[in-house]
């Protein structure tokens, strides 16, 4: 395959940055998108240029480290697929591909395609946990959990924290990420004692960094784990309920 990449290059947070075009020959359809960038980087390095910086780690779609905008879509054209699991067979010979970092005010660009997503960690630190010290847990089967509840908690818990939801949202909202964690813990009996304080604390930190939700549902469309926006509705209920506690 022959392709033309237009990649966002930016030296650091202070640099203005801009697109640089890289024509590519001999791209194998069996390559992953990141392997295609690897090959480009090998060539850039051999030519004495600086390779394109991008975040990635497990390359199995589970660590959430990778993620770029591909032709304006977070993680690219294949639904339910993180950038690292996207393969070149999803593109056509002669395609022009625009590659940009996840863009959001809450995610400042550090270099090229690498952004700072630490506000997501701060939301978890505010209350995205169950306060149980090591060693103080009761016998695991003392508290039965209906299978349906466990499954629904797992549907939410699958979030990989990549930030695609924020990047795709016209408002730069962090609702889907926050809602997934609040819902995961609210579904389980173990999460009940802190249910109200958790929702309230997490939403407050979320709102200090991210935009508001106006139900575009773009987040759900690009989520590599297919997390449903139903959880945003659940978060809103949880938050409202916490106001009356």
């Amino acid at each position: 395959m022959r392709l033309t990449l237009h990649i966002w290059r930016q030296k650091n947070g202070g640099d203005a940055g801009g697109f640089v075009s890289y024509p590519r020959q001999d791209v194998s359809p069996d390559m992953s998108f990141l392997e295609m960038l690897d090959v480009l980087n090998e060539e850039l390095t051999e030519a004495g240029d600086e390779p394109v910086a991008f975040d990635h780690d497990c390359r199995e779609g589970i660590c959430g480290a990778c993620g770029v905008m591909i032709n304006g879509v977070a993680h690219g054209p294949e639904p339910g697929t993180a950038t690292c699991q996207l393969h070149m067979r999803k593109f056509k010979d002669g395609d022009e591909i625009r590659v940009e970092p996840f863009r959001s005010r809450a995610f400042p660009i550090l270099k090229d395609l690498v952004v700072d997503r630490s506000p997501l960690d701060e939301i978890i630190q505010a209350g995205g946990f169950i306060s149980v010290n090591t060693g103080s847990a009761p016998e695991a089967n003392l508290m039965p959990v209906p299978r349906r509840d466990a499954e629904r908690a797992m549907d939410a818990a699958e979030c990989i924290g990549c930030g695609a939801c924020v990047a795709q949202c016209p408002n730069g909202a962090g609702q889907l990420f926050t809602a997934a964690k609040i819902s995961h813990l609210a579904e389980l009996p173990q999460g009940q004692p802190e249910r109200a304080s958790r929702a309230s604390a997490m939403v407050e930190v979320m709102e200090s960094y991210f935009g508001s939700c106006s139900n575009f549902a773009e987040c759900e469309a690009v989520c590599p784990k297919g997390i449903s926006i139903d959880f945003i509705a659940q978060m809103n209920r949880e938050y409202l309920r916490s106001r009356f506690k």
């Binding site: 650091n12 992953s32 004495g48 589970i62 959430g64 960690d121 978890i124 946990f129 090591t134 039965p144």
Partner: protein, 638 residues
């Protein structure tokens, strides 16, 4: 050389209980006077940092990823073992202990393994209380499934993402302590060296991966939880960032490295498909419950699998191991796949692949039922290969996955450098020469939640009242300048080859001569080739960019430089161990039926290697292993 395993005396089942009582304690008010560094935030690191923070220690935790949640424990699929015996099928702490010692081919420390089995039940309690959404039965109780190497169902799971859920649980416990201010979290920060002064670990030197800034950190104890070294093979199932720099730098500062040749090659991975390939993807071992493994009986049979009649297929695992069939332990399944491919019977790219066929189970149970069990795995396979496993058999091939070897630790998980503790995959302790499925998650969390928080106090207690070493001390200054010098050297070589191209070359040597099968001549040759590659690396590598910047090439360059040295030690250990055991298979030592042949008389020991310099041979020490409770037998899965 401080080299005493310090295994407590007394009957096996009382050792841990007795030891916990004998350990020195640090009283609650004094704990905040001690500082502890934890490097790594996977299952072991995050659980340790969180637990130490809860106890009141002053903790600093470091990871190279941009969030503590992303450590590679997150990619584990299958499950976590625990001796709960919920299915009422005869499991017990003793059986889990027995299976693990046998699975490790009698090359692990009995006392450590028994402790692991004992605390396995507490781990499940802890994880459930944290809100980990384990699979449930309809009555609301926890569900279990079975895994290779065991005849009971003791594996707890959360869909195909058990590692992710356990990792998030530990990460959330850690986040709680970060929020509470007991743990300082330093993401995108890589440990580049260990500082040892007066024979004790006193701190580390790190590089900020965004700004390139170098910082020294002083502490009363240092804990390494930095994972394994499978990436020495370049192509492995590990994340791209997984590296051995922390343990290798500690090794160079005096920590013994134990059993480096015990590396696990996982049998069910998606085969390599091109020269540009960056990593290999694991398909859960659970697939072997229903998939049938086969190759064509005739070499060079290029028909599509569906056109090869039953009579012309060799279901070689079912043929060779009728009792366990497709569910033999990992080392055996991997070697068997290599053997048929070596005979030219392999399928797919380069003839390095075997079929994993679901046609039989699809016909028997129907597509819906198979989808419910394996849907996400089938989807992942199709995403990567473009082939639909409901219609054509999967192709699989073994890939480097986990390393049982690691830094030597005593019963307290302390290395041979006092004050330096090593937990999780980074140490060598519990799996012997082969790890059983679903035991890595168990060990990481056992070390972090339930072992280290007790044993570290015993080391710290006598140091009460001592001033921590100032980071202005000459010991820190010297290490900083060595680190800086090394980075400048890497940047200044300005040669012709990229880091990846040399790393790939190293990986090929390791795979060919120190992978699934090894023999004397090959290993001797490999050591020479690795030395030559290392020399070329330091003369001809090109690392673009600057040290004071976000520079991913420089990050890789430092890690790969360490891999050359580690690879050499791995080959030396494989050469030195003149027997076959578990994953370590020496062609010269096999039974008449081609199975691994142990030599218990000469090799019932841990080989712990001492660094003596970059250009001199390492010194081997032995820790004798005693099997008082499980007499070593020849493993049989026939």
């Amino acid at each position: 050389m401080n080299f005493d395993a310090k295994v407590p005396s007394g009957p096996l089942i009382e050792k841990w209980t007795k030891h916990k009582f004998d350990l020195d304690l640090v009283n609650p008010a004094n704990k905040r006077k001690f500082s502890v560094i934890v490097v790594g935030s996977g299952l072991a690191g995050a659980s340790a940092a969180a637990s130490l923070g809860e106890l009141g220690y002053h903790v600093d935790c470091f990871c190279f990823q941009d969030s503590a949640r992303r450590a590679h424990s997150i990619a584990a699929q299958g499950g976590i073992n625990a001796a709960k015996n919920y299915p009422n099928d005869g499991d017990s702490v003793w059986r889990l202990f027995y299976d693990t010692v046998k699975g490790g081919d009698f090359r692990s420390r009995e006392a450590n393994v028994h402790r692991l089995a004992e605390v396995s039940v507490d781990i499940i309690d802890q994880c459930v209380a944290q809100g980990i959404p384990f699979a449930r039965e309809y009555g609301g109780g926890l569900a279990n499934r079975s895994f290779g190497g065991a005849q009971v169902s003791r594996t707890f799971y959360a869909r195909g993402q058990t590692g992710q859920q356990l990792q998030l649980g530990a990460y959330q416990a850690l986040a709680r302590q970060i929020g509470a201010g007991t743990v300082g979290m330093h993401t995108k920060t890589e440990m580049l060296d260990l500082v040892v002064e007066d024979g004790r670990a006193r701190g580390i030197v790190t590089r900020d991966l965004t700004s390139g800034a170098m910082t020294s950190w002083s502490a009363d104890a240092v804990v390494l939880a930095t994972g394994g070294y499978s990436n020495v093979f370049f192509l492995s199932t590990n994340a791209k960032g997984c590296n051995a720099t922390a343990i290798w730098r500690a090794h160079r500062r005096g920590a013994l490295f134990a059993n480096p040749c015990y590396t696990q090659i996982h049998p069910t991975c998606i085969p390599q498909h091109g020269d540009y390939q960056s990593k290999l993807t694991l398909m859960s071992e659970s697939l072997r419950n229903d998939g049938r493994i086969w190759v064509p009986k005739t070499a060079g049979d290029s028909r599509s699998p569906g056109r090869i009649p039953e009579g012309e297929r060799d279901y070689y695992l079912e043929r060779r191991y009728p009792a366990f069939g497709n569910l033999v332990p990992r080392d055996i399944a991997s070697r068997a796949a290599k053997a048929v491919c070596d005979q030219g019977l392999g399928v797919g790219h380069g003839g390095r692949g075997v079929y994993l066929d679901f046609a039989e189970v699809l016909a028997r149970l129907g597509k819906a039922s198979v989808e419910a069990k394996y849907g996400n795995l089938f989807e992942m396979y199709e995403r990567i290969t473009g082939e639909n496993p409901y219609q054509v058999p999967m192709r699989i091939y073994p890939a480097p996955h986990y390393t049982m070897g690691g830094l030597w630790v005593d019963y307290d998980l302390m290395s041979s450098v006092p004050g330096l503790f090593v937990i999780g995959e980074a140490n060598f302790s519990d799996h012997g020469a082969n790890r059983l499925g679903a035991s890595a998650l168990m060990q990481g969390l056992a070390d972090g939640y339930f072992v280290l928080p007790y044993t570290i106090g015993n080391y710290l207690a006598p140091h009460m009242g001592e001033e921590p070493l100032s980071t202005d001390h000459a010991a820190f200054r010297e290490v900083e300048s060595q680190v800086r010098e090394r980075l400048s050297k890497l940047l200044s070589i300005d040669g012709k080859r990229t880091v990846d191209s040399l790393h790939r070359a190293l990986g090929r040597v390791c795979e060919d001569y120190c992978g699934m099968s090894r023999e004397r001549q090959g290993l001797e040759g490999a050591i020479g080739q690795i030395q030559a590659l290392r020399e070329e690396y330091w003369q001809n590598v090109r690392v673009p960019g600057a040290a004071q910047d976000l520079n991913q090439s420089l990050e890789k360059a430092g890690r790969v430089a360490d891999y050359f040295e580690l690879a050499e030690l791995m080959c030396r250990d494989a050469l030195d161990r003149e027997e076959s055991c578990g994953t370590h298979f020496r062609e010269e030592y096999r039974t008449d039926e081609g199975e691994a042949k142990r030599n218990d008389e000469d090799y019932t020991h841990v080989s712990a290697w001492e660094w003596t310099g970059a250009d001199s041979e390492p010194r081997r020490h032995k820790e004798a292993l005693e099997f008082e409770n499980v007499p070593p037998t020849q493993r049989s899965y026939k």
